[in-house]
Symmetry: C2
Subunit: 431 residues, 2 copies
């Protein structure tokens, strides 16, 4: 609060430059992985009709909503997630696109929860979905993207694992044992809590279905209980060379009611076994949201920015990759103009403009200052080069700030010279 | 509403893929121009304490706020603009950064206004500010960025003009004629409306200060009334080669009360003379927001996404540049794998993974399909190449979709071959 009588709301972040650069690293990585896997970007509105979320989730998130009445008397909500909006958009626009739709969104979501380490009241989410394809090939392609995303952040085999399950296996199990369709959500909820619920509560809840926790655990433990969809996904991912990242885990059910088939979670395999991303098939949501007007099978996953960032920072090789990116992308500039002769300010401004036009990120002192002060500013700016404009203009001196070595060249060659120097392997990329 | 019982709220946009790609074009252009001019990116929260906005604007925007009480009983508002948040962040964090701060933000803002062509209830804004420098060199550097931004979108001399004014010139004028400090806001408001207000209202309001509309117009018409700051800015921009884009226009005052000195607007010079961007100096805002704890002079401007997009689409050369970008960046993929022999699906998935890993945007059919169907899908995907995996694998056929010509090569060289082909001048860039 130093220096201001206002501060950010609890659970909301100020993205000051380094924080914003880290955010951009996540966004650019997400975006480039999705694009090279053939997904296109969309974005749904930050604010929607509250009924859209209530209809989707059946009230699961309703206690956590930033919900209010707008000036026109509408009941509106800041999006707590984007899948409901995606279903709305897909129902409205799908006829203009060949199937399947492979769409992704990077968007901020809002949930009124208790802020804690690793969780705020706003977070960014990478959402990836394939709509219009009911078969397991779509689930495999989606899981492949989750794996590609982890690899793009620099994670390697052993850092993470994708645990895949299929609600259909549980639906078959339950149906064969007389659980009615009406009771399925309750049954799936018990399975979801199998490792977290108190043993006596678990036993009591399962007794209602003439089942025991051991029967559930035995079903989970038997690899023969994989579904046909899981086997197809597994074969597909093996062909891609991704077999080592995937395992069957029928204890994964995922909380939300709208999942209909294959579900999966990406786990950090070290330390805390946190879920880094999760998703699954939701074949009935588009029909639900569109009141049956459009029926589009779908599968999707989401990855939030909090957990993945923490995992990157805790994993040396992934963190090093991020730091290299930050060094190149979070500096104020690549070249800092030192105006050693104030009589050459007009020439310096022209040179500045030429360098920037050529795509070279360049900064300069707004006011006259001693040359030593200017070199200090150059150092603080993160620039790789100081370019000195002095009395000997148009001859310029280039100081390489890391090595303190020096070169000379003429102003008329400055753009070519610097473009070339910046493209050397150890230099920052062009802006 | 076709196909869905829900739709976006009035004034809110669904960024379906082409719309999202256009948004990305604006964002990437804004970001790259700011970065090459030595500005660093930050982002302030979308939701803030309402008092922050009321304190900044003195209530000017208060009728248009998306304002509500959160679950914790806080009076909060979706940001109508970002400068108030920037002042809060700067007051809190400025001591960690060398001065001046050259910061930019690309963020969504929300105002409850009547939606109409060219105006929604949400819009994206490019905000650029220089904090910690009181002299006109900062204003010149800021105006230079506004001009660089227009040039980066492909606009040329004659397409736009930056009209620069200085509230100080009016303050001097008014003070010399006995207008009290207390009445200055009212006086500036009259000047702001000089071309829009009814003549009789204007005359009546000015009579209170023993002034006539003709005296105001005569002051505006006389180029000798430029301020010292304007003259310095002009000389600076002339040195950069930007003189042809700038003119003195004392009729520019800008509505908001917090401006303290130089103000400017970028106008579309054709047709409607719309303001594309605007800003100016606000030397007292940081002190106001921080209750005097931090005093930081500042100058900044904002450009919204609605007007600039319309202007690009109406200007042939700027629109052509955008369309070229969209063609490269809005396609689903660059390469579409045609699996002509279903027995080669596993090999195709491996090849797909290798191509993607090399940064080549690649898509493929999820399910077996006739080769002609697959070529149709390749065409619709926007891919440049179809890569055919058939019975003769590992020999592959590459079809260039625009020319229908064909080449053959081995799967083991596919990555190098395609990387090289995509880097040819007429090919899409790597993802």
């Amino acid at each position: 609060m130093a220096g201001s009588s206002f501060q950010a709301l609890p659970g909301f972040r100020d993205f000051i430059p380094r924080e914003c650069a880290i955010r951009n690293y996540l966004f650019e990585t997400w975006r480039s992985v999705a694009r090279r896997c053939g997904y296109v970007e969309y974005e749904s509105p930050v604010l929607e009709d509250t009924a859209l979320y209530l209809k989707k989730s059946g009230g699961e998130l309703s206690a956590q909503l930033f919900r209010f009445e707008d000036q026109g008397g509408r009941d509106v909500t800041l999006r707590p997630e984007v899948t409901a909006s995606l279903a709305r958009l897909a129902a409205e626009h799908q006829r203009h696109f060949p199937k399947p739709l492979k769409w992704f969104e990077i968007g901020q979501c809002f949930r009124y929860e208790k802020p804690q380490k690793g969780r705020g009241r706003e977070f960014h989410q990478f959402n990836v979905d394939i709509l219009g394809e009911a078969g397991p090939a779509a689930d495999a392609e989606l899981i492949a993207l989750a794996i590609e995303t982890m690899l793009a952040f620099g994670f390697v085999e052993g850092d993470f694992v994708v645990r895949v399950s299929d609600r259909q296996a549980w639906i078959d199990f339950a149906t064969a044992r007389g659980v009615t369709a009406e009771n399925l959500p309750d049954f799936l909820n018990i399975v979801d809590k199998i490792e977290r619920e108190k043993p006596e509560v678990l036993a009591q809840r399962l007794a209602a279905y003439q089942l025991t926790p051991d029967q559930i655990r035995a079903f989970i433990a038997d690899p023969g209980n994989s579904s046909a969809a899981y086997d197809a996904i597994r074969a597909d991912l093996d062909a891609r060379g991704f077999g080592g990242f995937v395992e069957l885990d029928l204890s994964i059910v995922r909380g939300l009611a709208y999942y209909t088939g294959v579900v999966f979670e990406v786990f950090d395999s070290k330390k805390s076994m946190r879920a880094v991303a999760g998703g699954g098939r939701y074949d009935t949501l588009v029909a639900t949201i569109s009141d049956g007007a459009v029926d589009l099978p779908a599968t999707g996953f989401a990855m939030g920015d909090y957990v993945i960032r923490n995992l990157i920072e805790e994993t040396t090789h992934a963190n090093m990759q991020m730091e290299v990116w930050l060094q190149r992308n979070a500096a104020n500039c690549d070249v800092y103009l030192v105006i050693a002769d104030e009589g050459r300010r007009a020439d310096s401004l022209k040179l500045l403009t030429d360098l920037r036009r050529a795509g070279i990120s360049t900064d300069y002192p707004l006011n006259p200052a001693k040359v030593t002060k200017q070199f200090q500013a150059a150092g603080k700016s993160g620039a790789r080069f100081a370019l000195v404009v002095g009395a000997e203009y148009p001859e310029l001196k280039l100081k390489i700030l890391s090595s303190r070595t020096e070169e000379s060249f003429s102003a008329e060659n400055a753009t070519e010279w610097l473009t070339d120097r910046l493209q050397q392997p150890d230099g920052p990329l062009l802006a």
